[in-house]
């Protein structure tokens, strides 16, 4: 086949890739205060320093990390249990899986609506509590939405991400269990032992990758915190957008500096993940050597 063929095949992805990189770099350049269109021409770190020093930013950062860490860790644990449950009860395909896929298909905006109709003080859970006598008036029901604890957002993410983790790691865990896990059981290991010593460790690459995906996604996501978050402090992406659409265009570099920090933290998370996973792989290789 022709020598030119690969270059023709990659033309569209190269064009889009260049546009993508250009967009990211353009945002970063703006974060250093260089926006000729708004008559800002000084290349400076001042915007970053000012953003980092402001208490409002630190509150936003805390809230965003709180939401994404708690929801992602819980989702990874519950998702792994769900994967194991599907594998060990023989539901790795079929109707149950269709329902799980349905949750992946529902957008976060609709998940926000779920949260509102179930978790608000007028929601179904509050009504249920009232009926069984746990609360006497609507306002006795704890606040889940538009409040600093962000429980409505965290539960919303869990609803989407537990099925995602299960769907993402199902095929790997299922195939490992079928081959190595059942072999261990046949050789006399108890089911629990074969799960914790063989199936789970070998499934970790998929579970870890799913965890990284949901962690970085929820850290940079807009929809749920925009719809269900407190007015103060706002999640970082929401706060960045507020600065971005500020009528005073000189606020633009602040928005971009926040975006730069979101990027930096996202990449740090990914970097830590790759360090940990490659170190584990080297350890695993050594074990195989013995």
């Amino acid at each position: 086949m022709n020598k030119k063929t690969p270059y023709i095949l990659i033309m569209p992805i190269v064009l889009l890739g260049v546009l993508f990189i250009y967009g990211v770099i353009n945002g970063i350049v703006q974060s250093f205060g260089y926006i000729p269109a708004f008559n800002l021409r000084d290349f400076t770190l001042d915007y970053y320093i000012e953003v980092i020093k402001s208490p409002a930013f630190l509150d936003s950062l805390k809230v965003t990390l709180h939401i994404s860490l708690i929801s992602s860790i819980l989702a990874a644990v519950l998702g792994t249990i769900l994967t194991a449950a599907l594998v060990y009860t023989g539901h790795a395909e079929g109707k149950v899986l269709k329902v799980i896929k349905l949750a992946i298909l529902i957008p976060h905006t609709i998940v926000a609506l779920f949260s509102i109709s179930i978790l608000s003080q007028n929601g179904l859970l509050a009504r249920l509590f009232y009926k069984i006598g746990l609360i006497n008036v609507q306002s006795d029901f704890p606040l889940f939405l538009y409040t600093k604890n962000n429980l409505g957002i965290i539960l919303g993410y869990l609803w989407k991400e537990v099925p995602f983790v299960a769907y993402f790691s199902l095929s790997l865990m299922s195939s490992i269990n079928k081959t190595l896990g059942e072999a261990a059981e046949n050789l006399g290991a108890s089911r629990l032992k074969s799960f914790f010593h063989i199936t789970l460790p070998l499934s970790m690459p998929a579970i870890g990758k799913a965890f990284l995906i949901i962690l970085t996604f929820s850290f940079g996501a807009y929809d749920l915190p925009f719809l269900l978050g407190a007015t103060v402090p706002k999640a970082l992406p929401v706060q960045a957008h507020v600065e971005y659409i500020h009528p005073d265009l000189r606020h633009r570099p602040y928005a971009m500096a926040m975006n730069g920090l979101i990027l930096l933290i996202t990449w740090t998370m990914a970097g830590i993940y790759y360090l940990l996973s490659s170190r584990n792989r080297i350890k695993g290789d050594k074990h195989e050597g013995y």
């Binding site: 086949m1 022709n2 063929t5 095949l9 990659i10 569209p12 992805i13 190269v14 889009l16 890739g17 546009l19 993508f20 990189i21 967009g23 990211v24 770099i25 353009n26 945002g27 970063i28 703006q30 269109a37 769900l82 449950a85 060990y88 009860t89 329902v99 799980i100 349905l102 298909l105 529902i106 957008p107 905006t109 609709i110 926000a112 609506l113 509102i116 109709s117 608000s120 179904l124 509050a126 009504r127 009232y130 609803w159 089911r191 970085t216 996604f217 850290f219 940079g220 807009y222 929809d223 925009f226 719809l227 960045a240 957008h241 971009m256 975006n259 979101i262 990027l263 996202t266 990449w267």
Partner: protein
């Protein structure tokens, strides 16, 4: 299977998960057909078609927006699948300079939150006069679906390999024909998966469409979200129901069309 009894907690966990996934959808469906559902009733007191009627009322523009929104997302999905097939073939079958870089770039959008990218590219698109246009929105949606579709097509392309297609080529079929008649039918499951994946990612987008489309490019998410933001449960739920049902309908149509195509191919191959 030994000690079946030990499966019981796992089964209960699955049942709880299924209940938690399905219950909100049932509640939304009830709300969509509800007129009054006052505190502290556990079920609506009054059912009505108000929400659904309001969506499809002739004076509203919801139905045309739904259709144009589906068209936009289908365009994104088809382009994404085609580009993914091309990129996957280049990476799997060929050696060329810059291959590792391309490999990295095709996955990079996963490492940059779409909010960050959208704000960065916005000015660029304004300069190219692509902001506030459907084309601009399609391009940005496309960039965010490609890591997923390329991943799907790459794995499949790797597992199918190039040998059979090559045989057809050696036996005298043109390169295009040998791709269309040999590899394409084998790639169909991946193509269906890519199209559905890219469609749902595009159809769900809210922030990116809001920023790049500037309120000029209206998608279904754009008209649904204000009702959710206001907490209007009847209309919000009616919109959500239409969102989910229209998506399932589009998926069903894609599935039947491509499966039919596959059957026709098989027949013509056998004759």
């Amino acid at each position: 299977m030994k000690d079946i009894s030990s499966n019981k907690p796992l089964k209960i966990f699955i049942y709880i998960s299924l209940f938690v996934i399905l219950a909100p959808m049932v509640i939304i469906t009830l709300w969509a057909f509800t007129n009054q559902w006052p505190w502290p009733n556990l079920l609506p007191t009054n059912y009505s078609l108000r929400g659904i009627k309001e969506i499809f009322a002739p004076y509203g523009k919801v139905f045309p927006i739904l259709i144009s929104s589906i068209t936009l997302s289908l365009t994104v999905a088809l382009l994404s699948a085609i580009i993914a097939i091309m990129t996957a073939r280049a990476i799997v079958f060929y050696d060329f300079s810059g291959k590792e870089l391309l490999d990295f770039i095709s996955m990079a959008p996963n490492l940059v939150p779409s909010t960050v990218f959208a704000m960065g590219i916005h000015v660029v698109l304004i300069r190219m006069s692509l902001a506030n246009t459907p084309l601009g929105v399609i391009i940005v949606h496309l960039i965010y679906t490609l890591p997923y579709t390329i991943n799907i097509m790459r794995n499949l392309t790797e597992s199918i390999g190039v040998d059979m297609e090559h045989q057809a080529y050696v036996l005298g079929a043109s390169p295009w024909k040998s791709f269309l008649y040999v590899s394409f039918p084998l790639l169909l499951p991946g193509i269906i998966a890519s199209i559905t994946m890219a469609y749902i990612l595009s159809f769900s987008q809210y922030f990116v469409t809001l920023l790049i489309g500037g309120g000029k490019v209206m998608t279904f998410s754009m008209i649904m979200v204000p009702f959710i933001a206001k907490g209007d449960r009847t209309l919000g739920s009616a919109y959500a129901l239409v969102f989910v049902l229209s998506t399932l309908l589009v998926f069903a149509i894609i599935n039947t069309l491509l499966k039919k195509f596959q059957k026709r191919e098989e027949k013509s191959n056998w004759n």
